[in-house]
Amino acid sequence: MKIELLPVVKLEQLTPTIYALHLRSTYIAGTIQPGQFVNIKVQQSNYPLLRRPFSVASKEDDTITIIFDVVGEGTHILSKKEPGDVIDVLGPLGHPFTMPGRGSIPVLVAGGLGMAPMPILTQTLADHGITDVVTFLGARSKDSLIDYKLKNVHFATDDNSKGFHGTVVALLDAWLDSVKAGKVTVYACGPNPMLRALQSALRKRSVGGQVSLECVMACGVGLCQGCPVASVKGDKKYELVCKDGPVFDIHSVII
């Protein structure tokens, strides 16, 4: 990990509130693994005070991309960046997704902006020769379904504006009827309520997988102990999302 001032290559607006920010970093592009994140100081002043964590969504040559939704002051400031600006980025951080066992089909399950780590995961799976991914993407409505660089996507929307009418977990669950439990590895990211539903759906079917968690972070590197998630494995009551995660065995954490 390093702290670098990265030049903005491009800011792409994907929806009224969702953007893809492309930054140049030979170092991060060369070392990033899917599921890892970067911690961004959105501007030089002390406001906002803390860095903001974002999954690296994809990489191409010396460029990395983050996809973000404007939810507060920090992401608002990011949404005003333009080529010529530089941004203070710390990364890559955290524990990545690992490749599925031989013969296991990777099933990517994302809710809303939980899609962020999926493009680079898809890319990395392909680099490992694994191209039979199945992706399930859910959102409130079709306007927030971002299928940026995703493959073989099944959509679900709460408002029935695209694809399956219902949650992405319900859609996945129905689909799992058609496959053997041992044959798939789930990769998931999304809001906690969705992840809890997913956990119990998978547990019933004894399907395993990996989940990328989000939580408020102060440092992103293990200094503050501010990002615990309760764990059912090992002797520690809590693991740290920033250092031990953000990717965990989906059945090891109490979300």
């Binding site: 702290i3 002390n46 005070l49 590197v221 200094l223 809590y238």
Partner: protein, 316 residues
């Protein structure tokens, strides 16, 4: 770069500079070797250590506030045993001052932890975190009770010849009385401030934003409070005062030095840049060079106040 004297000696402890990292904001010093050359930090203060390992509080443990953050980590730490096994060798090998910060819920626990670290001889000094619940007094904080704070100092003082720094809480009416009390019991220095008690509410869920309702406020927001407390203590004790609170750059640190702090600790700012203490130390050296100052010590306590108007002070 060797023209400016930056070092600071506190009893048997020699620090290469006066910019330290604060307890709980730098782990055990081994967390980000990629980002910081730890040996360039004036002193590394470890996360508060308790006798037994502590899991810490349930999430959420932190929330950002205007110019600051509230935390309630619950003193998550690996406990004395694992500390001695896993961290002490690394710390002993460091080529800079190491200060172990100790937290406890009984006087006996303070004694045992300090005593066992003293045996292991793996640090250059101690900082005593008195902002801990005293289990024998129903969980009231030691640090808000002057006689408890004095007693902790009294019982620990004979156990070590290394510098003993007592870290004071700002959540009291008169922090200078606490400083005088621990000075009288033989503390080598006081450090302040620990966090202010703060709280934030999620209006949507009507729940506190951290699991324990209230927590500790830190960061630039509290710097004016920290500086005022340091000013109050500097005027009333003769032992060195270590300034802590919201320092993010050399200018902030200089405010504390000018006010009379002998050294400063960087807390929350480490979360934004774990190398910030080194940068600040370098920038202060540069500031001295630019201003014809040969020794950082020459800045300390140089505040110019207008004595003629101090009588009106308590009218705000």
């Amino acid at each position: 770069m060797t023209d400016i004297s930056t070092d600071f000696t506190l009893g048997s402890m020699v620090c290469r500079n006066r910019v330290w990292v604060a307890s709980g904001t730098f782990g055990y010093g081994d967390e980000c070797p990629d980002l910081v050359d730890v040996n360039k930090i004036g002193a590394v203060i470890t996360k508060s250590l308790s006798l037994k390992p502590r899991d810490g509080n349930p999430p959420p443990r932190i929330v950002e506030t205007p110019g600051g953050m509230i935390n309630s980590i619950g003193l998550a730490n690996i406990g004395l045993q694992r500390f001695l096994e896993e961290k002490a060798p690394f710390l002993r090998a460091l080529n800079t001052a190491v200060i172990v910060n100790i937290a406890a819920s009984t006087i006996e626990e303070y004694k045992e932890v300090l005593g066992r670290i003293e045996e292991a001889d793996c640090c250059d000094g101690y900082e005593i975190n008195v902002s801990c619940p005293n289990v024998k007094e129903g969980g009231l904080s030691f640090g808000t009770n002057i006689s408890m704070t004095a007693e902790i100092t009294r019982v620990l003082r004979p156990l070590t010849s290394k510098p003993l720094i007592v870290k004071l809480t700002p959540n009291v009416t008169s922090v200078s009385e606490f400083a005088r009390a621990v000075q009288d019991e033989g503390a080598d220095a006081v450090s302040l401030i620990n966090t202010l008690i703060g709280m934030s509410v999620d209006v949507k869920t009507r729940r506190p934003k951290i699991s324990t309702t209230t927590g500790g406020l830190s960061g630039p927001a509290i710097r004016p409070v920290a500086l005022a407390k340091v000013y109050e203590v500097v005027k009333s004790v003769t032992i060195p005062v270590i300034g802590i609170g919201g320092i993010t750059c050399a200018n902030d640190a200089l405010e504390f030095f000018i006010t009379g702090a002998a050294a400063v600790e960087i807390g929350t700012a480490n979360y934004i840049d774990p190398n910030i203490a080194v940068t600040i130390a370098d920038d202060i050296e540069q500031y001295c060079r630019n201003n014809g100052i040969n020794d950082v010590a020459d800045i300390i306590g140089t505040l110019q106040t207008d004595q003629t108007i101090s009588v009106v002070k308590s009218w705000l």
